[in-house]
Symmetry: C2
C-alpha cells in the first residue's frame, strides 16, 4: 500500500486549461501510488479578489464572515479538479475542509488544526478514488468554517499526509524547485536537489517564500519528505529532508534576499530589560513584525537599539517608538529606508567558521557597506542598501561556489 499527497498552488490552477494540466499529473501519480490525495489552493489570484470584495463592503469585515467568503476559492478549484479527473476516467471526489474532517480551533483567519476525522475521506481512498481536498480551511469545534492563515494549503497537505501515513508530499508550484539564489537575479543560480529541513526553514523565513514554516515543522515531526516541483515540467524538484547521511553538506546552501526593509534606531536608551520589553510590547500591540535586532552596549549602561521592519510598517514604527522616548529615557529615534536583507543559509556553518569572514571580505572588496548583521547557527543575515542587493547576491553566490553546488565540507 503506497500513498502520497500532492498539492497544487494557485498559479498551477489559474485557468481551466491549467486545472486540466494539473489533473493529468494527478492521474499519472495514481498510476504509481495506491492512494492519492490532492490538496488544492484557490485559482490564481481568487483569494485576493475575494478579499478585495470584502473590503469594498466594509473596512473591517468580521473574521467569521471573511473565512466563510475566502473558503469558496478552494471549493471552486477542487470541484473543477474533480470534474477534470472524472472526465479522464479517474474516479475522484472533492471534499471541503469540513467534509475532510479537518477540525480546528476557533481562531478565524489563523486557525490551528486540532485533529483530522479521517473516516470520510479514507472511505473514498479505499474505494480507489482520488480524493481532492480544499486546502487552507477547516471546521472549528463550534462548527464554524475557519481558515488556516498564510500558506495554509501547504499545511493542509502535510497534515493529510501525516494522517494517511504518506512518507512523501509533493508541492506543485510555478518554479522548478528551491534555487541557490533567485534565478531572476542570478543567471547561474542552480536548482538544489536536496535541502535539509533546517536550511529550508531559515530560507523560508528570509524571503525565499517557497514553503511556510508551519507546514515544514509538521513535516519534520512526521518524517514526511516534501518535494517542491513544477506543474509546468516533468522534472524532479527539490526534496526537503531531515538531515541524514544521504545529504551532502555544503558551507552555504543558498542565498535569500528580501527588499523593502527599513532600519529603526533608538539612540541612547538606558540598557535595562524593562525598556526593551516596553518597546517590543508596544510594537507587537500594533502588529508590527520585527526581523533583525541588534544592541550595542556601551560602558555607561546607555545603548543604541536597532531593528528592522518592513517598509510598510516604517511610519507606524517611528510613531510608536517616538511616543516612548520620554518614558524609556532615550535620546532620539532615527531611521533609514531603502534597505535589503541578504541571508546566507547552510548547515555547514554550524561546524565550519569562516563564512562570516569570507562574506564581509567579499562585500568590502566590492564596496558594499553593511548596515546590520545578525547570525543564527546556520544563517548569516546582513542588511545593505537596496541598490547593492543584486551585486551582493552575485558576488556571494560566486565566492561560495553555489553555481557549482556549493563548497563541499566534511561531515562533523
Amino acid at each position: 500500500m503506497s500513498e502520497i499527497v500532492i498539492k497544487f498552488g494557485g498559479t498551477s490552477l489559474a485557468t481551466p486549461e491549467l486545472i486540466i494540466n494539473a489533473a493529468k499529473k494527478a492521474a499519472k501519480t495514481k498510476e504509481q501510488y495506491n492512494r492519492v490525495v490532492v490538496v488544492v489552493s484557490a485559482m490564481g489570484s481568487m483569494t485576493d479578489e475575494l478579499t478585495s470584495l470584502a473590503y469594498k463592503i466594509t473596512s473591517k469585515p468580521d473574521q467569521r464572515e471573511l473565512d466563510m467568503l475566502l473558503t469558496v476559492g478552494e471549493r471552486i478549484s477542487m470541484s473543477l479538479f474533480s470534474m477534470a479527473l472524472n472526465s479522464m476516467g479517474y474516479p475522484s471526489i472533492s471534499l471541503t475542509g469540513s467534509q475532510s474532517g479537518i477540525v480546528t480551533d476557533t481562531r478565524h483567519g489563523n486557525a490551528r488544526i486540532r485533529n483530522i476525522e479521517k473516516e470520510r475521506f479514507l472511505k473514498h481512498l479505499d474505494a480507489g478514488k482520488i480524493v481532492i481536498i480544499a486546502g487552507y480551511q477547516g471546521i472549528s469545534y463550534a462548527k464554524e468554517i475557519t481558515t488556516l492563515g498564510r500558506g495554509g494549503s501547504d499545511l493542509t497537505a502535510v497534515a493529510i499526509a501525516a494522517t494517511i501515513g504518506a512518507s512523501q508530499c509533493d508541492i506543485y508550484t510555478d518554479v522548478e524547485g528551491v534555487f541557490t539564489a533567485d534565478p531572476m537575479i542570478i543567471k547561474n543560480a542552480r536548482k538544489i536537489d536536496v535541502i535539509s529541513d533546517e536550511e529550508m526553514m531559515e530560507l523560508s523565513g528570509s524571503g525565499a517564500g517557497v514553503l511556510y514554516p508551519r507546514a515544514m515543522e509538521l513535516a519534520r515531526k512526521n518524517n514526511i519528505v516534501i518535494q517542491i516541483r513544477s506543474s509546468f515540467s516533468e522534472n524532479t524538484g527539490t526534496f526537503i529532508k531531515e538531515r541524514d547521511d544521504m545529504l551532502e553538506e555544503v558551507l552555504v546552501r543558498a542565498i535569500a534576499c528580501e527588499e523593502n526593509q527599513s532600519m529603526i534606531r533608538i539612540r541612547a536608551i538606558p540598557d535595562r530589560s524593562e525598556n526593551m520589553q516596553l518597546v517590543f510590547r508596544a510594537l507587537a500591540d500594533e502588529d508590527i513584525t520585527i526581523d533583525m535586532i541588534t544592541k550595542n552596549v556601551s560602558d555607561s549602561g546607555i545603548t543604541d537599539l536597532s531593528f528592522t521592519v518592513g517598509e510598510n510598517d516604517l511610519d507606524k514604527t517611528v510613531n510608536v517608538t517616538r511616543g516612548l522616548l520620554e518614558r524609556v529615557g532615550a535620546k532620539e529615534v532615527t531611521f533609514k529606508g531603502d534597505l535589503a536583507k541578504v541571508a546566507l543559509v547552510g548547515i555547514g556553518m554550524r561546524s565550519h567558521s569562516g563564512v562570516a569572514a569570507l562574506t564581509f571580505e567579499e562585500l568590502s572588496k566590492n564596496d558594499i557597506d553593511i548596515e546590520m548583521i545578525t547570525t543564527s547557527d546556520i544563517k548569516i543575515s546582513i542588511l545593505i542598501k537596496s541598490e547593492n542587493v543584486e551585486k551582493a547576491v552575485r558576488v556571494l553566490h560566486d565566492v561560495f561556489e553555489l553555481d557549482k553546488g556549493g563548497i563541499k565540507i566534511s561531515r562533523n
Copy 2:
C-alpha cells in the same frame, strides 16, 4: 413576535454597492419585525460564470461536483451581506444551506427539500441576529451538497418562511412587481397590486418568469403571502395571495407572452392512445418539454396531432417524430417556427365566458391569424406568428382594459 423572510435575487446583489443597498433594506425590515431571515441568490451572473467554467473543464461535468461548484455563488453573497449588516451595527450571521439544516434528497442539480433542521438558525434569530441564508442549496441525507434547481432561492425563502411561521415573504427583484403585460412591450402596462396564487401560477408557466411554481405551491400550502417588489425603490410591490374576499376579481388579470416557439404537426396519425403514448414518451426520453397540444379528430379515426416546443428543441423533435412515422402509421411530420405564445390569465374566466370570443374577435379584426389554441379554466393560450406578438398583446391589453386595472366582474 413578528417574523418575515426577505429574499434578494442576483440582480439585486450584483455589486458590493448593491449588496450594501440590499443590506439597508434588511436593516430597515429589522426595525419592523422581531425575526428577519434574509435569503440570498448568487451575485449577478455568477452562477452562469461558474457553470461556464465547469464546461471549460469537461462537456459532461458530474452533477455532484457541479453542485459543489455552483453553491459557492450564494456563499459569496451571503458572507458579504452579513459583513455589510454587521458594519451597519445590525448583528447578523450567514449560514450555508447545510448550516441552515436544509436537508434534501440526493437528486443533485434538482433536489427536493425533505425537512429543515431549524435549531441552529433559530438560536441566532432568538439572539436577535438577522440570519442570512444561502438560497438554492441544501445538504442531502448522504451529507452531500445539493442544489434545488431553477428558482431554487425562492423555494428556500418560502420553505424558511414556513419553518419559522412567517406569514409573509418578500421577494426583492429588479422589477416593481407583476405587471398586466411586459412593460417593455406595452407602455401602459400596469403594476398589479394583488394577484391570486392560481393566476400567478399560470402566468409563471406562461413566460412571465417572476416566480417558480415550486415556490408558489409551497407558499399556498402554508398560507404565506408573497410580495414581489423592487430592490431599487421604496414602492409596495405585488402581493400574491390565496383568492379571498379581499381580492377584486377581473375578467383578465394579465397577459404573458413567450417567443421562440415552434409547432410540430404529425399528419394523418391513427387516433389510438398507444400512438400518443409512443410519441410523447419518445420526446420525454429526449428531455424535450412540450407545451401546447391539440388533436383534431376526424370521422375516419385518423387525426392530426399538433404540439409546440421551444425553438431550441425543434430539430431534435422533428428527428424523433419522423423516426416514429412508420411505427405509428402516420403520413408525415410538418413544422413551423418563428411563433409566439400569448396567454391571457384571470380567475374571472372561470365564471364568465366570452373571454375566448372577445379574444378571437379582436385578433381577427387586426388580421392576426391564430395557429393553435388551448385553454384551461383560468387561461387562454394562443399561438401566433412572432411578428404579430407585439400587436396582439397591445390590442388584447386594450380590449380587456388592463391599463385601467381590468374589467371588473361580480364574484360568483
